[in-house]
Symmetry: C2
Subunit: 320 residues, 2 copies
């Protein structure tokens, strides 16, 4: 008989799960008390929180529990990196039906642990409650290492616009999953299930003098639009600089052959979120490491343009 | 026509809500970027997270949205205080159906803001998503002011056991609400809707030399049981020291007259959680301020006893 979290109970489940989470040098006090205590070496802490709801942010038939753990951690750790900070710690709220198998919660925890390990962070605390809707609430903390946070409002005309990380793969993967075509092109569905944010590039961008930075979670145009609005500038992208990876081209072809609504690779790169690439602006002339791609420049004006025109793409609104 | 969060949209709702949250001296960067930045003056940060699920932790017909905001903030801020720390900041995850009235979300935010103000904390960030189940995820941060965290594992034989704050009122209030008798004795239902944790007593206890401390959220016996287990001692309570407040005696009488299952005031004080009192142990001879009540002592052994016997009370298990 398979065990459920209802039969194991709250405290049994906590004991099973927290045993999986190793400490790091940043952990002063880990799980098991009223609260955790985490190092904040420069006397400031970066903090961000996100919710993932089953059916809305993940589906149990499309993603393994380990995938969901990876993704839940990644999207929050990427927000920390987008401030130019090093992720240090994660807290996990877990709301689940009583009939959820214990194995699901354990595999989910393993995904969390592994993703935190990739980013250098530790899971330091959490909460487990019962709910009809499987919901994961993650809070990530980070360390700015003495540098100012890289905000959205610092872009200035003349700055370069650059990205690091994947664009469009997750959205194309979702489209393949929705069309029942995930077997045909596995790279994009895998990117949807487990985004791979370029964590180290966040603090590196801060050191390189990034003037503004954002995590691409709702779509490149929409997220650069936040930088444009906060900085009171226009972000002028060059379409030719947005080169589609082979897996994205392949996915678009697969979708077209199956009769799905026609969307180009560029559509996915401009509108697709959830890859958790980092987009940043840098002073003109900044020598960027090879993982960054310059995709445009900051000019006077408002909004985001591609080759001078406002692109016809919509980003993500959670109630849209 | 009343506005719903579905028609207003995610970004409209965020703009409406974050406008309500004033900054404090601890806020380096508030809502509106990928993450917030909060002061951590002694280079450590206390962090804790909790989920509240509609139907499980609150009911919209029993609590106003403002009540839910107060309670959601209070239970997390109390966890920070229970470490001996001063609460500094709150992050809020909000998952709601699209048909939730905007006014509900705004009133909820006002409750959060007011409770944070009482505790001296600021709301610095959050996330809003759509879900069939109204769910609130709160993370609270705090500042230890250079002192060691007051953990659960420091109690030693000979220590005093003391509490500050309400015991049993919230549980009696819940019983009255469940029995449809909330109009007969309003103090306990009010305590259930809006617990009033003694925030300042947490850091004060740390300064007084508390050897262990816990937030009473699951019931006095169960929560002192965590201290007993972590410290490898027995917590020996004196029943006569647990004096019931008038409102609790009144609530118990009202329930008894209505034919509810017989429970004594002491039952509610020992088993009732959610008042978010603080229970702590102190070295023998510590002169405690008048708001603390000494209710027993720490002795060799295991578990929690009342007048030498193991009490027949059960605490709270979220899957029990």
């Amino acid at each position: 008989m398979s065990s459920t979290i209802g039969t194991l109970g709250e405290f049994g489940l906590i004991a099973r799960i927290t045993a999986r989470f190793p400490a790091t040098d940043d952990v002063v006090l880990g799980p098991g008390d009223d609260a955790a205590v985490v190092r904040a070496p420069d006397s400031r802490v970066v903090a961000t929180t996100d919710l993932l709801v089953e059916g809305r942010h993940f589906r149990r038939d499309w993603s393994s529990p380990r995938d969901v753990g990876h993704k839940a951690a990644a999207q929050n750790l990427a927000d920390v990196a987008a401030m130019g900070a090093r992720p240090t710690a994660l807290l996990v709220g877990f709301a689940a039906p009583a009939d959820l198998p214990v194995a699901w919660a354990e595999e989910f925890s393993e995904g969390l642990r592994a993703e935190c390990s990739t980013a250098g962070a530790a899971v330091v605390g959490g909460d487990i409650v019962r709910s009809d809707t499987l919901t994961v609430a993650i809070t990530a903390l980070g360390d700015l290492r003495g540098a100012p946070p890289v905000r959205r409002d610092g872009a200035a005309p003349g700055d370069l616009v650059a990205v690091v990380g994947d664009l469009g793969l997750s959205a194309a993967g979702l489209a393949l999953l929705q069309a029942g075509l995930a077997d045909r092109e596995p790279t994009c569905p895998a990117a949807h299930r487990r985004p791979a944010p370029p964590y180290a590039a966040g603090p590196a961008a801060a050191e390189l003098g990034a003037t503004a930075m954002i995590d691409v979670s709702d779509g490149l145009v929409q997220d650069l639009g936040h930088i444009a609005a906060a900085s009171n500038v226009r972000v002028a992208l060059r379409g030719a600089a947005l080169r589609a990876p082979a897996a994205l081209v392949e996915a678009v072809g697969t979708l077209a052959r199956a009769g799905a609504p026609l969307r180009s690779p560029l559509d996915f790169m401009l509108a697709g979120g959830e890859d958790h690439a980092l987009a940043a602006t840098f002073p003109s002339g900044t020598a960027l490491p090879s993982e960054w791609t310059v995709i445009g420049e900051v000019v006077e004006g408002t909004g985001v343009t591609v080759d001078g025109s406002v692109p016809a793409v919509a980003g993500w609104d959670h109630f849209g």
